[in-house]
Subunit: 413 residues, 2 copies
């Protein structure tokens, strides 16, 4: 029998205890050990839980219990999760977490402590919820050099964009609906501003490059400025707007960004709708491999956590080889140097003049025409160019007769 | 240092030795052991190979070498691969194979021998080429009850169907092109008759149900009878024709089939084109998860083999828990009892009469109309019904004025 503790009894945590209790026999059969939840840490009371007597409000009850070999951290946030996880690893307990914020900001340090103590620190559920991605990346693709990952990594923003694309809902209405359905938090900033997607692409980037990429080095844009007009122009261009997290190896530098992008309809990510996530991995041997599924939700995430716990039980003596080094982010290419073609929308009194000026600034542009466009609207796609150059030209485009409205990257997936 | 042997130096085998030789250092770093190819078994000579001196024509050189701990079998076919693999496992050598025919026909027996000898028998590359599927199914989804898998499992047939769908090529022309490009064998039967897809769905079914499903229990139809007309009617219906391997748990019975099917355009498998494969897995906790990528090819398959070898090295003392029992196929539902809606195409002198007759036989049918259809054609979709009932009615539909042309299942993915 392996004794474990679960820290946090929120949405994911209660899912984890449910699965472990309800599937106890099948799981024991699979790992050839019974998994026993000895303690559940939460500050709230859960008198109706079938294991109410095993709840505790004190972390000391877990850290001081030498019988507990694996600790599940599903509290979220950095404090106190970071301190608790660190102390667990320093005290001989393997840790399984779904906490992307923790892994994205403290991964290298915690992986080092785990390695030094011959313990596991596993976090499959931190990216893509129920989609297996960390383990396949680490193992199945281990004979590949992976040089690019592009993903739709946040279900909430993808739900909102899908409503805008398929039902012409405004951003505000789609956000309100997402909140009503429980897909978005009351304070939706972490999702709609791109921070959640940023944490996830940082974890994937760290894993494939073997060096930690910290979120503060990653240029991150959310979807709050996306309008129905942009969605319509994307359609006229033959694609959709999606919030993309992308990492590429560009010589010695990592190109990493989170931003809304136009993607063509025939791209494998274009049909990923609603709360679904998809992660496209490019390996030198495998070519493109895509992992697709529900990126969040109680049961998908909890099942990924339980799978990690089972893997820990299978590897209680011989740790899984998962590791990346610390870094100072100096390998990240400044986003001003990243290159994209850009969709640009301008309001102008004279389209021909403005297009002529745009082509002088950006080079040859492709105009996008859409039905019932406003007479004064001019939309076009620039050549691929460095963001710094684009930005300078973009600022020069506005003048007495024309006014830039927005600019969105064209993905080169 | 871990010493291995590679049996077979064909397309996949030479890819395996290439990766192991060219990425030797990175791989050694990842598994913390050097992997040394001590022997390569092939009846042909390869004097230009950088390891020409390690080639042998005799299996005895491998089986009698106690230093060889892992044997890669990439010969294909049952004989002599089955005998060789069995003897390796009986003699303390773990085995990695890409041989779907071997796993589909002898998996249960070989897994038992591996377990009895505390060895690994791994076969990630046998399904989906470079797509990680066996390991995620076995591990990442281990906290799920998986009750359905649907997949596009054969790249050759998917390439042919894509050419028919996108370029209105005939089956014969598309097959000839596939042969020219090296995607199809000169004798294409294993692909176009569905046998290859059948072996793969058998392996997946065995894995998720824990009991061997043998290919001869699986109703298998290929794509040789699919015409451009069917492809056009699928389009008019709002979908495409794909060769689908499907397994479902229906009460205690396994419903398992390989057949061309109509799938709706919004299904995640509809946009899987050319030689790509995709496997859709339904778990009770994760919901739908899709794995997508190149299902074949030298490097994708070889990289999956190498990843298995690395996993073997990591688990040289503690075997990976992968297993299914033998069975007598009695859990497979006879295909006559499986239920599908069916697309039916009829040539008739009198459409109204034939439709009336059809609805008496099948129940309410949905007529499919397409532009420039032949005047005598009637195409419709029946209600969901048992195949035995459908077949009886279908045979009764032909009479003096009408003649059935074809019938294709409508997928219920």
């Amino acid at each position: 029998m392996i004794q474990i503790a679960v820290m946090g009894h929120g949405v994911v945590g209660s899912g984890v205890t449910n699965i472990l209790l309800n599937h106890n026999d099948e799981i024991a059969k699979k790992v050839q050990e019974e998994i026993y939840i000895k303690k559940v840490l939460d500050l709230r009371d859960f008198p109706d839980s079938p294991i109410a007597d095993r709840f505790t409000k004190s972390f000391e009850d877990i850290i001081n219990d030498d019988d507990i070999k694996i600790v599940v951290e599903v509290m979220g946030g950095i404090n106190p999760a970071y301190d608790f996880v660190k102390r667990c690893l320093q005290n001989g307990k393997s840790v399984v977490t779904s906490n992307k914020e923790l892994v994205a900001s403290k991964g290298a340090e915690l992986l080092k402590i785990a390695e030094d103590n011959n313990l596991n620190f596993l976090f499959e559920a931190s990216v893509g919820g129920g989609i297996p991605i960390i383990r396949p990346l680490n193992q199945c693709l281990s004979a590949n050099v992976i040089d690019e990952i592009d993903g739709i990594l946040n279900g909430t923003t993808n739900f909102i964009l899908t409503k805008m694309i398929r039902e012409s809902m405004s951003f505000e209405d789609a956000l309100a609906l997402a909140q009503k359905l429980g897909y978005a938090e009351r304070n939706p900033a972490a999702d709609v501003e791109g921070h959640d997607a940023c944490r996830k692409i940082c974890i994937l980037a760290s894993l494939i490059f073997g060096k930690h990429v910290y979120p503060d080095a990653v240029h991150t844009e959310g979807i709050t400025k996306i309008t129905l007009k942009d969605v319509e122009y994307a359609q006229a261009w033959g694609g959709v707007v999606k919030l993309i997290g992308s990492v590429k190896l560009n010589k010695d530098k990592q190109e990493i960004i989170v931003a809304p992008m136009f993607i063509k309809n025939d791209c494998q990510l274009a049909n990923v709708d609603d709360v679904f996530n998809a992660i496209l991995v490019k390996g030198d041997a495998t070519g493109e491999v895509v992992f697709y599924g529900k990126g969040a939700g109680k049961l998908p995430t909890a099942s990924a956590v339980v799978a990690d716990v089972m893997d820990c039980v299978n590897h209680i003596e011989q740790r899984r080889n998962i590791y990346w080094e610390d870094s100072d982010n100096r390998d990240v290419l400044p986003f001003e140097e990243t290159k994209y073609a850009m969709y640009v929308l301008v309001n102008t009194e004279n389209k021909a003049d403005t297009l002529e000026k745009a082509e002088k600034l950006f080079g040859k542009c492709d105009v996008i025409s859409k039905n019932d466009a406003d007479e004064k609207e001019l939309a076009f796609v620039t050549p691929v160019m460095k963001f710094a150059d684009f930005d300078k030209a973009y600022k020069e485009l506005s003048d007495g007769t024309s006014q830039t409205v927005t600019a969105i990257r064209i993905a080169d997936i």
